[in-house]
Symmetry: C2
Subunit: 541 residues, 2 copies
């Protein structure tokens, strides 16, 4: 026997409680448990009660509407159920703090993007072969705006009248979309299918990480031509900000992929450089802040910052070009533009499929040089690296975690495989390196099959700060942050509303906001949070 003395049941219970408590005290919400307001404590109880009820009724075999149903199940097959739950309804009203991991090219509902694009007569579309009932299933469209002098007189993508690879005005292509392909609605369905991942792909035909990444990458190949057009882009960003605010997000750090190096101007010429993008971004912040002020919601949107990204598939020289552009932008655009704090400053990251593209080590001279250049210039552009978005164990891709930390990353994007690293877990905790966790993204991209299998509880139980993020919601359908918060809440008995509040708080705490702005943001969030908890508390009265 291990113990010299045998305990009485009462002694055992006391010892057990202390033992469990010792471990749970590592969790970041633990310190708050002692100082919860009455409303917070009651709201947490209410949410646990509703969660338990819905687990028994909605997320169980009693619900005959769905098969193999359970809390935290596959998002794409449960989304329609989620939106009808009381729990989700509550979470949509929760103040979420910051959205820290969001790829700008996938932040707006694809139907909205389609609508924006169809308003633009410059927008053209082409396909490599004429569309037919069979080819449409695998055919990807390409979009691009054309200057007026190059507008096409073609009017259909289908049949013998279409010359493969030729541009067709998007409006005409839609209007003339053949009846047998569903007419204009068929056009919309086809394009949206190419911009999103559906359950049959994620859970059937493409259910490995490699295969779903092919489909995932294709959605960007299609959307880029729709988005990188000034008249659309500026509306797109505003729409992104507005819908985020509607979901309770008050501040955003958006990853913008600055390749290709220019976007199209209103006239359809591909000449708009990155500095113009930053100005448009800043303008969108101003516009949406003003809208909030005008509608009596001053402070609902604090602003947004850009994390400058390029793709981990370029040559080292090309990446160096991007780092230099990033530095130039940082020098030109401080936090304050036109007298207002716009938070437009930059961090730097490399994005793309870690398993199949280059690891950070491939760019090490450039990444070290980037730090040196900052020192020379006296500026600070923190690394905020993607790392560990992989199922590997010791693969070159997985080792990105070591490099991200050695290079001083401020946060880690994904960190899905971080749990495999005892030393790195310790370092993240000690140095306060927050993890931008994207549960729904991870599930759809097949790193995990459902939320109960996701490593998030490992990170949370170790006491490492976490921010929940949506990653690419236009592709996944998890617009805002309510869906990701929902999936996390229903998958863990330990995590209640108090922990979700801590995650929201930490999203601001571990943002790149300067101390003053951060204190303001936290204080505003705290007010909204108490108000929210009071409302939730009444639901259990």
């Amino acid at each position: 026997m291990t113990d010299a003395s045998v305990l009485s049941v009462q002694e055992y219970i006391t010892k057990r409680e202390a033992f469990i408590n010792e471990e749970r005290s590592l969790r970041r919400e633990h310190a708050r448990l002692a100082v919860l307001s009455d409303a917070e404590a009651q709201a947490d109880r209410v949410v646990r009660k509703i969660r338990a009820e819905e687990a028994r009724t909605i997320w169980s075999e009693e619900n005959e509407a769905a098969e193999n149903i359970f809390p935290g199940m596959e998002f794409l097959t449960s989304r329609d159920i989620i939106v009808k739950t009381r729990l989700f309804n509550i979470l949509t009203k929760m103040p979420k703090g910051a959205l820290l991991h969001a790829h700008l090219d996938a932040m707006v509902n694809t139907r909205t993007l389609l609508r924006l694009a169809l308003e633009q007569p410059h927008m053209h579309i082409r396909v490599p072969n004429a569309l037919s009932a069979s080819s449409i299933k695998t055919m990807l469209p390409e979009f691009e705006v054309r200057p007026k002098e190059e507008w096409s007189t073609l009017s259909t993508l289908a049949g013998a009248f279409y010359t493969p690879g030729e541009w067709v005005p998007m409006q005409k292509a839609r209007e003339s979309f053949p009846e047998e392909l569903g007419g204009p609605q068929g056009f919309d369905a086809w394009v949206i299918g190419c911009l999103t991942i559906n359950p049959a792909e994620a859970y059937g035909t493409h259910k490995t990480t490699d295969k779903i990444w092919e489909k995932f990458a294709n959605t960007f190949r299609v959307s880029i031509g729709l988005i990188r057009y000034q008249p659309i882009w500026s509306q797109y960003i505003r729409e992104f900000f507005r819908t985020s605010v509607e979901d309770g997000i008050s501040y955003i750090e958006a990853r913008i992929n600055f390749g290709p190096k220019t976007m199209f101007n209103a006239e359809g010429h591909n000449v708009v450089p990155a500095r113009e993008w930053v100005l448009m971004f800043a303008e969108a912040i101003q516009v949406v802040k003003q809208e909030m002020k005008d509608s009596g919601r001053d402070g609902a949107f604090l602003g947004a910052r850009i994390i400058y990204t390029t793709i981990r598939m370029y040559t080292p020289d090309e990446v160096e070009w991007y780092t230099e552009e990033c530095l130039a932008l940082k020098q030109e655009f401080p936090d304050i533009i036109a007298g207002e704090l716009l938070y437009s400053s930059l961090g730097f990251d490399l994005v793309g499929h870690e398993d199949s593209l280059y690891p950070l080590t491939y760019y090490m001279p450039q990444l070290l040089r980037f730090k040196e250049r900052q020192k020379e210039l006296g500026i600070d552009v923190p690394y905020i690296f993607h790392a560990g978005e992989t199922l590997g164990d010791g693969t070159p891709a997985e080792n990105n975690l070591y490099d991200a930390i050695l290079l001083g990353t401020k946060r880690i994007g994904h960190g899905f495989s971080l749990a495999k690293h005892p030393k790195l877990l310790q370092i993240c905790k000690e140095r306060g390196i927050a993890i931008e966790m994207c549960p729904i993204s991870n599930e759809i991209l097949r790193l995990t099959s459902s939320m109960p299998m996701h490593p998030l509880p490992i990170i949370v139980n170790h006491g490492i700060p976490v921010a929940l993020c949506s990653d690419d919601p236009a592709v996944f359908g998890n617009m805002g942050l309510s869906f990701d918060y929902f999936q996390v809440l229903v998958s863990s008995e330990l995590t209640g509303l108090t922990m979700l509040g801590q995650i929201a708080r930490d999203s601001l705490e571990y943002s790149t906001l300067n101390p003053e702005a951060k204190a303001e943001a936290l204080s505003a969030w705290e007010q909204s949070w108490q108000k929210f908890c009071k409302e939730v508390a009444t639901l259990g009265a």
Copy 2:
């Protein structure tokens, strides 16, 4: 910037290597890397090379024989591919050390069990309703031996001649199995389908943990009547030992479920008490050891021990009855029986679906009393608890991990959710509490969807000792240990043959063998290991 000074690429590389090495040095094979024999080092390289080749050829889209294929994919759909690989072939020859987590009721191939049962005229079968083409899909047979005076004159389970619930001699039921149900082969297929989990169940109709556990539990309801019959049981154990030895296992700690309290004797009376089971178990050890000796393989089988188990669904009083029986058996049967070291001594465990049955706390008075009783009697029956075989995070079932450790468990069965517990990880490492990891079992019972998602690397990278185990291979099809070793090897870049060797070594190191026997076992294993490595090394010559 985090660092005050910027490093040169060379400085960075040096620092990086040390950084990675610091973490990897926690792994249990690390200390050996410096003292590998030439053969071991070469064998590790050969295995890595073959693994990489097979990842490119067999486990990739190049293999058109299977869909969504990848290394470590779902076992039930990849088993046929695995057995044809060179890597698997190598692993079948590897000396595996001990099998430490194995439920005796599911250790022999179901075809063998069926054959053994069909040799027994006492064996009867019944179904709740007459079989038909539609009812056979969901109908579970029940088996039981009947004393000669109660042998049935019925001869079929199907059609109007069958009275629902009546016993039919198994041999006759098989011979008369209707043509439209496939005749005798159809009988075999039906029974085997009820004793095993198939891919359509695990990955389709029953793909949640709760649902697959229903099917899993049903296989035991069917098999128990076939197994708990002295003439079969004694052959069953020998078959288990023999096939284990064939797969390179030299020592076994088998969990025997001692409920119901008696088994059937040769004449078909349900009167054989547990002490007879232990004697039969000891006899089987002697027989198989002798067989090995006779065939010039002295030492290939060192013996086996029993871990006494009962099911976590009984009342506390019933569990107390079982703990008392366990103590009585421990007192009656020391390690030495008939002058030979038979390792028949006992550990104690509670088994069954943790999520749906009682947690350890439910039996706390009994479990504490059991320790007290051992103290009184001056004997030692270590707890070797199942714990953490769940996707929960802080559920009552998941909290079994705390209780297992507080009660001084020697090892942890499964520990699937251990990774969520920073303090418990630390304690397991410090106290040398080994984890009996059952990767294929976990995957089929839907705790993980595939091996790359399994938490094993988390445990291994933390430096906690691990023993790979097959759990219930008759149900899963992972007979022996080669399949589990295979799935682990192909799912991690870090884990090579050297680590597999360490896992095998640790299976003996963390067994319940006394120091003397353990030293002998380890020394014999070491010899076999070096021989094995020499053979593997030549494959790369």
